[in-house]
């Protein structure tokens, strides 16, 4: 019977092609526009590391300016980051900062080029589940012994070694040789939760080196640096300053660990207060990935406003569809009457028209996918290629499925009243010629 009704739907479409096409178009535009915004939100507001987002915590120590009332700084000072690393009180932990440097490839083939990298600890890789194409991250001994080792991204490995297994090779970065221990596979969490203050939708850095080398090798810092107090003069002035420039993440395995670690941070802060630091009231914080993304409001206001507007656009399109379905189904009263005379009961008529509405919805959904795809291409063009998310803006299977289901259900929903009206007309009226 389902297929029969589907065939009737197709025939009915052909009977009023203009009215039916208008409906399909209304559904397509409404659903298509909604899905463009939905996809943006889906990509930008997704959980970047669902397996562990409740075990990874962003550390904030309130070393801030006593003359202001704002939140604790989002990054740590050099003093605090090194102290936490030394204390080694979490299951896994890493201090991490963005750096830059000139990379000098061997041979004359490629000219030296400037590159953005990241200093991290050995735990960085297992903590964030980074996938490896070749080799692996470095050992903790490399952190301790200041070994000059590096992990490359897939892209950089392509560029330097044509994609071959480069572990064991060396690269010259910022005037120093680094031995490659691993090459990452594609890895670009969206949002880039581990460093959202330097751009939540930026791409991954291209090379990773032990964080402990940043200072001894005098790497230029590439990320955000905030100082509420000017560093003292002298070579160690900056290191001993209240300037924050280091992100700190810990992996904890249970709720008890979280409370314990926060207590550890508070104890540390209390101890620092005795040295005259941490002039504000105690306000240290641990946020897991989801809480942190929420708190930092990584989703731009624009997408939230657009979500509301897109929902209204969808509503307008559905109101439109209700009106058009009403015209269409009331125009079918004669057929409905004949079918009743031939033995159709109300249930089967209702089903027939629900399927007809669903059929229109499905066509609308398919056309809506095209509109959504075109819309997303348009958004990509508008945003340009400097935002990494453009790589992620496309119709993934989830979005495709949601679009079709939304289109079908919304049209059927819009059809309920028109169908009910059309089916509750006394059939006798329409059987007699006037």
């Amino acid at each position: 019977m389902f297929l029969y009704y589907l065939r009737l739907s197709a025939l009915s479409y052909r009977r009023n092609p203009i009215l039916s096409s208008l409906m399909v178009m209304a559904v397509a535009i409404g659903v298509g526009a909604y899905m463009v915004i939905f996809t943006l939100n889906f990509v930008m507001g997704g959980d970047p590391i669902p397996q562990k987002s409740d075990q990874l915590f962003h550390v904030q120590l309130d070393s801030g300016n006593p003359n202001t009332q704002d939140d604790p700084p989002k990054q740590l000072t050099y003093l605090d980051a090194t102290a936490l690393i030394q204390a080694n009180s979490a299951y896994r932990e890493t201090a991490t900062s963005k750096i830059s440097g000139i990379l000098e490839p061997e041979g004359d083939g490629i000219r030296p080029f400037s590159i953005v990298g990241r200093g991290a600890f050995a735990d960085f890789f297992p903590m964030f589940n980074t996938p490896f194409l070749y080799g692996d991250g470095w050992d903790q001994s490399a952190d301790r012994d200041l070994q000059q080792v590096a992990v490359l991204t897939k892209e950089l490995n392509e560029r330097l070694f044509g994609g071959a297994d480069s572990t064991g090779e060396t690269v010259r970065l910022h005037g120093n040789n680094f031995q490659i221990v691993g090459v990452l596979d594609d890895w670009a969490p969206v949002p880039k939760f581990y460093d959202i203050n330097n751009g939540a939708f930026d791409g991954s850095e291209e090379i990773f080196i032990p964080w402990n080398l940043i200072i001894p090798l005098d790497f230029p810092r590439n990320g955000n640096t905030n100082c509420w107090k000017t560093p003292e003069a002298g070579p160690d002035g900056f290191l001993n300053s209240e300037c924050v420039w280091i992100q700190y993440w810990v992996e904890l395995r249970s709720g008890d660990d979280e409370a314990e670690y926060l207590q550890f941070l508070n104890n540390y802060a209390a101890q620092q207060k005795e040295f005259g630091r941490f002039p504000r009231e105690m306000n240290n914080a641990l946020f897991n990935v989801e809480e942190w993304l929420m708190k930092e409001e990584v989703l731009p206001n624009e997408t939230k406003i657009l979500s509301a507007l897109a929902a209204m656009l969808l509503a307008v399109c559905l109101l439109n569809t209700i009106g058009l379905l009403l015209s269409k189904f009331l125009g079918k009263s004669g057929e409905i009457g004949v079918r009743q005379a031939l033995g159709a009961h109300k249930g089967s008529l209702f089903l027939q028209h629900v399927i007809e509405a669903g059929f229109i919805g499905l066509l609308g959904g398919i056309l809506g996918l095209a509109i959504a795809a075109a819309g997303l291409e348009g958004v990509k063009v508008l945003l340009g290629d400097n935002l990494m998310i453009t790589d992620w803006i496309h119709l993934n299977p989830t979005v495709v499925a949601i679009t079709l289901v939304l289109a079908v259900l919304a049209t059927i929903f819009a059809g309920f009243y028109p169908i009910w009206r059309a089916c509750s007309i006394n059939p006798a009226i329409h059987l007699k010629t006037q």
Binding site: E335, V338, R339, Q340, H345, P427, K432
Partner: protein
């Protein structure tokens, strides 16, 4: 087979109750060919709608094949329409976008019949009205008489207890009308009961029995057994 006792139909939507059925009683037996006549719009159509289970009556009793249909709900009424009644309308009421085969197929679909059996029955029905060769055509490609033949085939395909015909020749020229009437008589001869509403007095006179309705009541109920009975004998 069809038995109405004191059936009343009151229309509440309009202030006036001019053309409803009033204390209407009628029995139709298996194999009869009954014509219903009466002045324009005076209970004929209401009778047809009630007899065909398209409308409910206000009071009284209506037994169809021994079953009291007064209290039945839509689902059961639809089932009865599908299995026991065949409709023929003045304006044919074929589905414009279904071909002949699919048009005749409709009642069998609602009966939930298997595809092979449906095909066999529809082909047979088409053949019986002489339109088998045109089964892929749509109604608009046929003449009025041909369309009415299709409608008759559709009414017959489910092998109903009786046919309800509402001015079946009203939209046809007289020659074609004769052909359609001949077909209906043939059907009646093979045992199917026919109840036909008409305002054509000559058609009424041809039938075995004529019921005349006036203001919702039967004013005249004549048996015209002569020619047909003779023919049967």
């Amino acid at each position: 087979m069809l038995e109405m006792k004191n059936v009343r139909k009151v229309f509440r939507t309009d202030m006036v109750e001019t053309c409803a059925l009033d204390e209407f009683s009628l029995t139709v037996d298996q194999g009869e060919f009954v014509t219903i006549t009466g002045p324009s719009g005076c209970g004929k159509t209401t009778f047809l709608n009630i007899a065909g289970l398209l409308e409910t009556h206000t009071s009284g009793q209506y037994l169809l094949d021994g079953v009291d249909v007064s209290q039945l709900r839509d689902y059961a009424r639809a089932k009865l329409r599908n299995q026991k009644i065949g409709f023929i309308f003045q304006s044919f009421n074929l589905m414009p976008d279904l071909n002949l085969f699919d048009n005749i197929d409709v009642p069998l679909r609602y009966r939930g019949m298997k595809s092979a059996e449906r095909k066999e029955r529809v082909d047979k029905a088409l053949d019986s009205v002489g339109l088998f060769a045109r089964k892929k055509h749509v109604p608009a490609q046929l003449s009025g008489g041909q369309q009415q033949r299709v409608a008759i085939a559709r009414a017959l395909v489910g092998e109903p207890l009786f046919l309800l015909a509402d001015e079946p020749t009203g939209n046809l020229d007289s020659n074609t009308a004769k052909g359609v009437m001949a077909l209906l008589e043939e059907i009646n001869d093979s045992g199917t009961t026919i109840i036909m509403v008409t305002h054509d007095q000559s058609l009424a006179e041809q039938s075995k029995r004529n019921i005349h309705i006036l203001d919702g009541r039967i004013s005249n109920n004549t048996e015209q057994t002569q020619q047909k009975a003779a023919a049967a004998a």
